[in-house]
């Protein structure tokens, strides 16, 4: 840059169309690659290569060659063996069942409450909105492990404030960490941590709607609840879709909360959710190919599920237009 001084303005003005354009074009041909270069290199190294490596591992098996202490482990091609053994493992079925029950509680509650609070923040006349918004957003700053630790102690019969009250009333402790309450308990941790962030996304989306639309509805005699249900919710569907997809992806990756609660209860096994099974296969039972096969399945499932949600919503949107 310092080696090529800027041409005088007059020259630029005269030759605006011909030579500088050409030089610019060759210059801008390489520049974008330098800007996206670091991201592409990191993407290839830490996402693309690991995915391909995991897929490769999932089709292999360890074979011990030779015998005794001299035997060496080598990787050999195993076809779909790992997939078959992973899919026939009874732990996987119960893992996905737990995940489904948890998701059925956590995802709709998180999104429903986030939408409700966002609509309340956006309703004229509601008081203390700044306090409410900040308070509901605070759990976002608390890591999942710490949140599970806090709630875990609030569930544990010996330290729980809720069970303290029920015990004083003679009803005994609430079974937060028993098989009857565990899904609600873990779901609650996720709802607590997730409502604030989703609320902010929906709320900012609400605020970008022009006020004239509401004025028109008010003149037509609609009350605030009708405006919320008939005008606001349909307009924030894209934001709901975004938060919905991220909530589903997040739910499938449930790991830290049950892992943190595990020391507090016997209910949670080592294979309670699929991610815990993957961790056990990879690091406790040294079955890396099995862990790889299960992670590939989970990744394919996540992509398929997100694709399905997008496809359905696209069809709905098209249906609504026509």
């Amino acid at each position: 840059m310092t080696l090529t001084p800027a041409p005088p303005a007059a020259v630029v003005a005269q030759t605006r169309t011909a030579p500088p354009r050409k030089r610019q074009r060759s210059r801008t041909r390489f520049a974008p690659y330098l800007f996206v270069g670091p991201a592409v290199v990191l993407f290839v190294l830490f996402m693309l290569v690991p995915i391909i490596y995991a897929a490769y591992l999932s089709f292999t098996a360890y074979k011990i060659q030779g015998g005794g202490i001299l035997g060496t482990k080598t990787l050999v091609f195993a076809g779909f063996d790992n997939y078959v053994s992973v899919l026939t493992d009874p732990a996987l079925g119960s893992g996905f069942w737990h995940l489904a029950l948890y998701s059925a509680i956590a995802v709709p509650l998180t999104l429903g409450l986030a939408l409700l609070f966002a609509l309340l923040l956006d309703t004229p006349g509601v008081r203390a909105t700044r306090f409410g918004q900040t308070a509901i957003f605070i759990p976002y700053a608390v890591p999942g492990v710490i949140a599970a630790l806090l709630w875990g102690f609030m569930y544990l019969p010996s330290t729980s404030p809720f069970s303290y009250i029920t015990k004083a009333l003679g009803w005994g402790p609430i079974p937060f960490l028993e098989s009857s309450g565990i899904f609600g308990s873990i779901g609650n941790i996720a709802v607590w941590g997730g409502v604030g962030f989703n609320m902010i996304i929906i709320y900012t989306s609400l605020r970008s709607i022009p006020a004239e639309i509401y004025e028109a509805a008010r003149i037509d005699g609609a009350n605030e609840r009708q405006i919320a249900l008939r005008v606001k919710i349909p307009l924030v569907v894209p934001a709901l879709l975004l938060t919905g997809i991220f909530s589903v992806i997040g739910a499938l990756q449930l790991y830290s909360e049950p892992t943190t609660l595990k020391p507090m209860t016997d209910i949670i096994s080592q294979t309670w959710v699929p991610l815990m099974t993957i961790y056990r296969n990879a690091f406790l039972t040294d079955d890396l190919p099995g862990a790889a096969a299960l992670s590939v399945l989970l990744a394919v499932g996540t992509v398929a599920l997100s694709g399905l949600v997008l496809w359905i919503s696209n069809r709905r949107a098209k249906g609504a237009q026509s």
Binding site: M1, R27, R29, L116, L149
Partner: protein
Amino acid sequence: MTAIATRETARLASNRGKVWPTVILMIGAIYCLIPVLWVFTATSKSPSELFTTFSFLPGSGLLDNLSDLFAYGGGQYGLWAANSILYAGVGGVLSTFVSTMAGYGLAKYEFKGRNLIFYSILGGVLIPGITLAIPQYLLLSQAGLAGGVMSVLLPLIISPFGIYLSRVYASAAVPQDTIEAARLDGASEWRIFLRIGLPMMLPGMVTVFMLQFVGIWNNFLLPFIMLSDQNSYPLTVGLYTLLSKGSGTPALYSVAITGAAVSIIPLIALMLFLQRFWRLDLLSGAVKG
């Protein structure tokens, strides 16, 4: 006077319907604050008070708990906190810079492979963390990096979400005319980015940085898999191991609770402070290029 009074009663009447919305919002706020309140009162209790007194009554063991916490494992808690700040701080800055550059490049230039690059990176959002973490661990062990600082920093620099946000923000906040004008003045592409693009993208960068900082600070799985030396654990993994040990010895419960309370103070403070700089409207696509 009467006119004002009637207007006032009219306003009150119209707001009477807003009592319930306010009440519901406050219930939500209390629900979100209860565990935070609980952990701070529990921190003030001595281990024996923790199991006997009502949860929301403060106790008398605050200073003992704090000194126990910082004495635990020869001062490991301080190390964990420093590690969390290091991983989240350095990782957040690097990630923000890589994302901003990529987002700017993707938004402001037409080039071959642009859409392929953008959608490939964006697809990364869908890949579960563990699908990546295990092969990342294996590959980094072969490179001799597993267990070190680099093994928890490098994989988190690439952020599909950060790149997406940066692209949206760059196309909304940096006018193409300004770039063209700077080109005519003879500025190099890199200089245009540094002097014109970056300052205009600053609010978006703060958002990306905060999201990445909180994301890395809250991350558990990757450091849990990568690190084996207790002294290089971040707070999440450190407190988890403390809790798993504590299941046999309830005396460690107080240390774990105190550790949890102390660990959330800086992040909540940082978030309250930076709240006004966030541009989370980017997430919902409220800003269009």
